[in-house]
Structures are given as structure tokens and as C-alpha cells.
Subunit: 150 residues, 2 copies
């Protein structure tokens, strides 16, 4: 991502965090991903259940299991990122493209919506809430709209 | 929703805003809904497209058209709401239940995930980003998981 000149130092810090998170995802580095989350974060992700909290979080093992469903590298690109930060509360939203091949041979190339919410905890920005999704078609099919492009 | 004693005054203000937004939705009051958004908000909603910005926002007319697809009242309940606010940036997340009957006879009773991001603009908290979704089944069906319960 390009750091824009209008970002505040906190916004730039969060921008670098998001870049690092995406890099960890591309590198299948579960520790790198987990390092950016607060201990008690609430996650709304693309697969059920409705939410993950510290009660049912898949944690590092869950991320590694998910990595193992990919055959080869995961492509991950972030665009239209917009970050809003105060001194200790911040949020970002972006459109992210995830691509690659699953171990069952399925080719994936989809755009999703990503929202991160952050708090500064112990001097460090951490993700306390994540929401990622695709819309679904309201034509009666209820199919996830994994074929949309920005 | 119950206002918890641990909320800061800003968090309570946002809690009341969310309550008012939900009340406007139940009352099919498009003006009441629109009043809570900033002029340039970015929305990720359950139907395509990937995002609405000020370039393609459906606005009040779009909301009224959506209201017209409901036969009778819209049920709207909010639970597990968690609000985090600093002086001028805030976010919330919750699990929301939407229910009712569409004009084509379809019965709706679904839980969705809702994230709101706020800025204090001109002294008033406004929604600058909204993300609402359901997950989808990763069993090859790609069906939206509209049957989940918290």
C-alpha cells in the first residue's frame, strides 16, 4: 500500500500494521498474524460461526489449519484502505483480494470487505475487532457474491 | 439495550445513537436513519455491491425502496453490543436480529453481524463506516448462513 502524506503518525503506524498483517498472511506466518491481535478480540469472519470471541477463538492453531487448506502461496492484496485514528482508538476499512489454490484443487480469486478496529494497549496498536465478509445475492439464491470486483 | 454502568459518557451517547438508529429502522423512518450518517460514509452491506461510498450511495430514496419490500413491520433486535470510544473516534459491534415478511411472502428471521465506526463531527457522533454481513458456508455451496443463532 502507498502511505499517503495526509496520514497522521498514528494512521501511518496502523497502515504499517495492516501491511505486516497481510505480509504474514501471504507468508503463512501464524505467529505474525496473531501478534497483531489483542487478547480479547471479537472477530466476524467469512465462515461460520457468527462470531469468535476469547471463548471460542481458533487461535494460532486454527490459523495454521486454515493455511494447510492452501496448496502453495496465498495471494493477498489490499486497496481503498482508509484509516481513522485518534490517540488510542482507531479503525480501518479496505477491499482485499485473496487468491490461490486450495488443496482440493479449487481456484480462489475473490474480493472481500475488511474492517479492523484498534485500541492502543500498552503503547502498541492492537486489533480488538475484525469484520470481513462478502455480500450475498438477494435473488433468492442466497449465494455468496465471491465474483464481485471493485 | 441496557446501558451498562461501565460505559463512558461518549459510549453512552453512541449507545443511544444505535438505539435510535434501530428504532428508525423498525419504524421505517428513512430520515431518522440517514440523520446518523456522516456526509461521506463508506458502507459494506449485505447485498452487492462490495461498497457504497458517496459516489454510489443509495441515500434516503434507496432506504425507502428497501422499506417498501417489507410487508408490515420490521423486527430489529440488537445484542452483544460493545462500544469503544475515545474523544472523537469510536466503534461498535453487535449481533442483530432482523425479522419480518417481505412483500413476496418470504419470511425473514436472521442474525447478522454489525460493525459501526464513528467520528465526532461538529460536536455530534456520526457513522462514517458501516459493515454488516452474514458468513457463508464453506462446504462448496457458497450459501449465505442466514440460519445461524448466537
Amino acid at each position: 500500500m502507498t502511505i499517503t502524506k495526509s496520514e497522521t503518525p498514528d494512521e501511518t503506524e496502523i497502515h504499517l500494521l495492516i501491511d505486516d498483517w497481510a505480509k504474514a498472511l501471504r507468508n503463512k506466518d501464524a505467529d505474525g498474524i496473531v501478534s497483531h491481535y489483542a487478547a480479547h478480540s471479537v472477530m466476524f469472519v467469512m465462515a461460520p460461526p457468527l462470531q469468535y470471541t476469547s471463548n471460542n477463538s481458533p487461535g494460532k492453531n486454527g490459523i495454521e489449519e486454515w493455511f494447510a487448506t492452501w496448496d502453495g502461496p496465498i495471494g493477498y492484496e489490499i486497496r481503498d484502505v482508509k484509516i481513522t485514528a485518534s490517540e488510542d482508538v482507531a479503525f480501518s476499512h479496505s477491499l482485499n483480494r485473496m487468491s490461490g489454490t486450495k488443496t482440493d484443487g479449487e481456484k480462489v480469486d475473490m474480493w472481500l470487505r475488511e474492517t479492523f478496529c484498534f485500541r492502543r494497549l500498552g503503547g502498541q496498536w492492537k486489533i480488538t475487532h475484525q469484520h470481513e465478509s462478502v455480500p450475498f445475492y438477494m435473488d433468492g439464491s442466497y449465494k455468496a457474491a465471491v465474483d464481485l470486483k471493485p
